[in-house]
């Protein structure tokens, strides 16, 4: 507890570099709750949740949050919402945890609504979140896994969309952005074909203050900008199941 009084410097990112593509299907030894009821959220949001009896829950999720740029941008924009980043690479998630700790210590009372966990988002979402709990999910510059044999590692695929639909509430929003045209087409195809999602039109997007932040808030987005790369955006809404059971 003594450390919480000192002002922490921002962590050095280079200490945490790790190979860019982790295999999300291999068995890593992850710590994860056996049921969402067992998750101790107050550890991650101590400034907001006094203990586990607090009703407030995570509503925004950044899947594969990388170095956490989007979390840091969203934090002051949505002070009332709890925002979580998930990252599979241990050193990267450690970096984000330290970064948030430092920001909280440098800016008392701020950055209390963001946190980062190390986990495999392709495997354990239902262990953390209850049905319909989330309002927004972000997939910013996900790993493209170019080779066809590795397409099943893509964090967007037909089967996983069912899990994202499960944790999202009706009218919840999924944001995707990538610099890889092929991956963009792939994501659009799978979301459009999925009966529980519909794509938002550009008029729908005009009123959403998050959209402009998707291009360059995150570290990967900034890298693409530096290289003058293209950016492809697609946003989807979780809708009611159109299926009628007679």
């Amino acid at each position: 507890m003594s450390e919480s009084n000192e002002v922490l410097p921002l962590p050095q990112k280079r200490y945490y570099r790790q190979r860019a593509h982790s295999n999300p299907i291999a068995d890593h030894s992850f710590e994860y709750p056996k049921h969402p009821n067992f998750m101790k959220w107050s550890v991650h949001y101590p400034g907001v949740l006094e203990d586990e009896s607090c009703a407030k829950k995570v509503e925004f999720l950044d899947v594969g949050c990388g170095y956490g740029g989007l979390l840091v941008t969203l934090s002051p924009m949505f002070p009332e919402n709890l925002i979580l980043g998930l990252e599979i690479r241990v050193k990267v998630s450690d970096y984000v945890v330290d970064r948030i700790k430092a920001l909280r210590s440098q800016n008392p009372g701020e950055y209390q609504n963001i946190a980062c966990l190390r986990t495999n988002a392709m495997k354990y979402l239902p262990n953390y979140f209850k049905k319909g709990q989330l309002k927004k999910i972000f997939f910013l510059y996900p790993d493209p896994h170019f080779k066809k044999a590795k397409h099943k590692w893509r964090v967007i695929n037909q089967c996983l969309l069912a899990e994202y639909a499960y944790v999202l509430g009706i009218n919840g929003i999924v944001y995707t952005i990538t610099d890889v045209k092929d991956l963009h087409d792939w994501m659009v195809k799978h979301f459009t074909e999925h009966p529980l999602f519909e794509r938002l039109t550009s008029e729908d997007l005009d009123t959403d203050i998050i959209i402009e932040k998707l291009y360059a808030s995150s570290e990967e987005g900034q890298k693409v900008s530096r290289n003058n790369g293209d950016k492809f955006l697609a946003v989807f809404r979780r809708i009611e199941d159109p299926y009628v059971n007679d």
Partner: protein, 300 residues
């Protein structure tokens, strides 16, 4: 090994043969040749890995280790014989006699057997091998469990819509049974759990390891730990369910245990009573549906 009650008969399999036994005679059926050659893993016949019977008892289906599926009718005539893309891990019938096939990669497909050309429809996918699958009697839900600890309840046939997850097991989930809106599951963590599968709430639990010699559990855990696999319970290998009035009778077999354990669970209070051990003195498989069938390598 699989053994099932089928009306007046008992069905089981041995290698690539299907054996049907009733009071009068025992019939042995060899599977027909697989449709095309490329899929066969170089083997003439694959051993039968799974066997399932339709709810109306009119069809019986088997899957083999070399990706073949054969469906027989009541007269034991082959009505379908086709290959699937990947080795299947489990098969089951829907109430309207379509066939569900789960494969080793975790994908679950629906095959409409009444159509002329048999083609798979992808229903859902897990991230690890699906160990059991069933469609509820009402036909509205498909329930799947996997090598991780997951039990997924999806709508059927709109299986992209997940109704609930039943989470709480600490190891792989090996077997599922439903009765009304309740689900009974068996796991490698040595427990049986009872769930309200509509909302995923856990209602009751049986720790089968409590009825087992502590030394057997200890020995197994030591063995596994020496191979760097951390376990704390003797895993369940199969579970069968039969319900009478207000009670579920649950039969359980455990790894390396030469006995079958029988429990009863009250379907309202979920109070559990241990009924008895049945010593089998050999490895075995069993079926429980009014009668108890036990199949060992030597006898039935």
């Amino acid at each position: 090994m699989v053994v099932k009650n089928w009306g007046q008969c008992i069905v089981f399999c041995s290698g690539h043969q299907l054996i049907i036994h009733n009071a009068e005679k025992t019939e042995t059926i060899t599977l027909p040749e697989a449709q095309s050659c490329e899929n066969r893993n170089g083997k003439e016949h694959g051993n039968i890995s799974n066997l399932c019977i339709s709810k109306d008892s009119s069809l019986i289906a088997v899957s083999t280790e070399n990706k073949q599926i054969v469906v027989f009718n009541k007269q034991l005539i082959v009505v379908k014989n086709f290959n699937v893309g990947r080795v299947s891990s489990q098969i089951c019938f829907t109430p309207d006699n379509s066939l569900i096939v789960a494969d080793k990669t975790g994908d679950v497909y629906l095959y409409n057997l009444s159509s002329e050309i048999i083609s798979p429809l992808l229903l859902l996918g897990h991230m690890s091998v699906v160990l059991d699958v069933l469609v509820t009697d009402c036909g509205k839900y498909i329930i799947t469990c996997d090598r991780d600890e997951k039990i997924r309840v999806s709508r059927f046939p709109n299986s992209y819509n997940i109704q609930s997850f039943c989470l709480g097991h600490k190891e792989f989930v090996i077997a599922l049974k439903t009765i009304g809106n309740k689900l009974i599951s068996a796991s490698g963590d040595g427990t049986i759990k009872c769930w309200d599968y509509i909302n995923g709430n856990e209602l009751g639990m049986i720790n089968v390891n409590e009825s087992i010699d502590k030394q057997d559990i200890h020995k197994f855990c030591e063995e596994m730990n020496s191979e760097d696999i951390e376990v704390s319970a003797l895993p369940i290998t199969d579970m069968q369910l039969h319900s009478v009035d207000t009670h579920f009778f649950i039969g359980v077999s455990l790894f390396q245990q030469e006995k079958l354990l029988l429990y009863s669970m009250n379907s309202e209070s979920f109070k559990v009573e241990f009924c008895k051990h049945i010593f089998v003195n050999s490895s075995y498989c069993f079926d429980l549906s009014g009668e108890l069938l036990i199949l060992t390598p030597e006898k039935l």
